[in-house]
Symmetry: C2
Subunit: 398 residues, 2 copies
């Protein structure tokens, strides 16, 4: 991807090498708003939460923030009271250097679990990052967030709200194959729009529901997953409500940014060779549609069949069957890349199955499942399960 | 395994090649009791149930049966009304040939989904199987149940109840790696003990809870899973209640048979190289212990680490964390093969981690997780996730 310069008015960025990873690799990112911004955040529901997650949840609850500090190479998870102290000290140092409140700094970490985040590189790195802050530094920050990501993940949309053109930029890290150190998903969305904290919170929740909460790689939920959005109001637009035309437009743009980033996460990783949409229609409720889509998307047998290019609708129907949702097998329809392979419980002719097998050679296609029992739909994007995934995740040695 | 002859008084067995698989491979098994037996059965909870599962559920509900007919090579699942007709016809033909009620025949199928069970091989095969019935035929029947199983699975226990020595023999099919055609789990337990149907039902449920419901290979639940137990009373023992000393002794023996078979299922398969017990202690409730054990046992990241011999307690703690059970990270203890790698949330010294890595080279070991918040326990047995699993399950072409 060409790294075309991206600016978000009122924000400056830095990505520096502080020595956590070693070898001069970028491992500390800092995003800073010139003025206090409204903030909305979502965190992992894993009961084992990394120290920075606990602190970030506390800091974002107030609805305002001014900086996001992200280190890669160390998750600062399962590190007890010492880990919490390092994370709090990092917020304090950042706040002093920037002249803001420590509560306005949102800390995030990603990397290995169970290793104390080293204080000395953090102290040096924060000082360097503050010095390096630059309105043109967004890509460097995206690079510094990476762990096993093959490429930095950035998406941007511009949209007109409240009489002004505003920018929404998103930075993410997370590799589709789920990395050895637990591919923490970290997402930072930054906008110069003026958005009230409750409105931002609602729109972030909606955008995440159909993006980061609608992808699955291996069903493993990390200790560090964090999505944080800052809106600094530099655009000077008039505020808007969730249900207004502006609210819908802004929400759609935010969702587009998050979906683009989410697709990048699935597509990334040595292991994955395909990005497949599992689209469920005809469900009685959205919850039922989501359960079926997720069950199919997470089935190891389905995922190996996706890798092998095998239009094995039996595995798809089987995974739908154990999703815990009432369904009538005789009404099921399954299509792969638009080619029906099962209609109302009856297998398609061999020729159709062969065409479906051909279509599965593509790197991206859709598996459609119609339950024939309602009008609700849901889509989950998944990757294939490959020998490379297993090799990569098993070769790692502590 | 040496196939030492096993007899269960009052039962005869057959395993024949009827032509479903072709190449002269055994693919039809028949078990027959000289007299009507009490029966207890459990079936897949998959909403998509194969035709024989629906019929077997109906037939076993009455609490008595006299024959079990199992074909391999074809699951007779997702085959609509035509599939049901073939299964019903097979029961009828078997019943006529044996001179018993068609409702006393329990049909089971295992193999490929979505292909109609061919009637002609079944008709010829049933005739041949009835002719071949032999008190010494148990191993041949076990062979005829196999699909991708590397070896037939048989276990036997003798126990004294109600004044008589009784035999409990178990036959199972199911490959640890979960086969391309959905490794249906089929289990048939046969005993000459006299056991009332409600007692048998209860004891089968208890035995399954800690055996077949406590193993996981890939979390995929097939459309055909069936466990069926027949007790024909040939031993002439006095009947017993569940809670009696005899009931406990019989239940323990039945559980031992099922656990042995369950371990064989996990150990089987080209893909799996290890059989690992995930043992959770210190949980608030048994349900909580089971959820954590299952979450860890099914985590792809844990399973690849088991394959790689990596004592990655971070992945274990992470999977415990998303099990949906309240837990206190600072009280967690994790041991691998008895070697502590995490104590009360604090990592063990490197030397211990190295010793744990060494122990993980074994083909079988235990991962112990103490939640430190109660006295309930649960164990789930799992296999490792290997490149061979992925290759095998993706190479299969429809």
């Amino acid at each position: 991807m060409r790294e075309t310069p991206i600016r978000v008015p009122g924000f400056r960025f830095a990505g520096v090498a502080c020595g956590i990873k070693g070898g001069g690799k970028l491992d500390l990112a800092l995003m800073h708003s010139d003025v206090p911004a409204t903030v909305a955040a979502m965190f992992t529901r894993n009961r084992v939460k990394a120290a920075p997650v606990v602190i970030a949840a506390r800091h974002t609850r107030r609805g305002r923030a001014q900086a996001v500090l992200i280190n890669s190479g160390n998750a600062n998870a399962c590190t007890g009271a010492a880990g919490a102290r390092v994370a709090i000290a990092a917020c304090r140092q950042t706040s002093i250097a920037l002249g803001i409140s420590p509560y306005d700094v949102i800390p995030c970490s990603t990397g290995k679990i169970g290793v104390l985040l080293p204080a000395v590189p953090m102290v040096r790195g924060i000082a360097a990052a503050v010095r390096a802050l630059d309105a043109r530094g967004l890509w460097r920050a995206a690079h510094a967030m990476r762990t096993t990501d093959a490429f930095p993940k950035v998406a941007v949309r511009r949209v007109r709200v409240g009489g002004r053109a505003v920018t929404i930029a998103g930075l993410a890290k997370g590799a589709g194959m789920i990395a050895p150190d637990l591919a923490t998903l970290l997402v930072c969305a930054l906008t110069d729009a003026r958005v009230a904290a409750p409105v931002l919170r609602r729109l972030v929740r909606e955008a995440v529901a159909t993006s980061f909460n609608a992808i699955t790689v291996d069903g493993d939920m990390s200790t560090n997953d964090t999505v944080v959005a800052l809106a600094n109001g530099a655009a000077g637009n008039t505020p808007f409500a969730v249900a207004s035309a502006d609210g819908r437009r802004f929400g759609a743009a935010l969702t587009a940014v998050m979906r683009t980033l989410a697709d990048m996460v699935v597509a990334d990783g040595e292991g994955a060779t395909k990005c497949v949409r599992i689209e469920v229609t005809g469900a009685a409720t959205v919850a039922a549609a989501r359960r079926v889509a997720r069950s199919v998307a997470e089935s190891q047998l389905v995922k190996t069949a996706l890798y092998g290019g095998d239009p094995n609708w039996g595995r798809i129907v089987c995974a739908a069957g154990y999703a815990g949702v009432a369904l009538a097998p005789e009404r099921l329809r399954v299509a792969i890349a638009g080619i029906p392979v099962l209609r109302r419980g009856e297998p398609a002719p061999d020729a159709a199955v062969r065409r479906a097998a051909g279509a599965m050679r593509r790197v991206s296609f859709t598996v459609s499942i119609d339950l024939g029992s309602g009008r609700a739909t849901a889509t989950v994007t998944t990757s294939d399960l490959t020998p490379a995934y297993v090799r990569f995740n098993s070769a790692y040695s502590t």
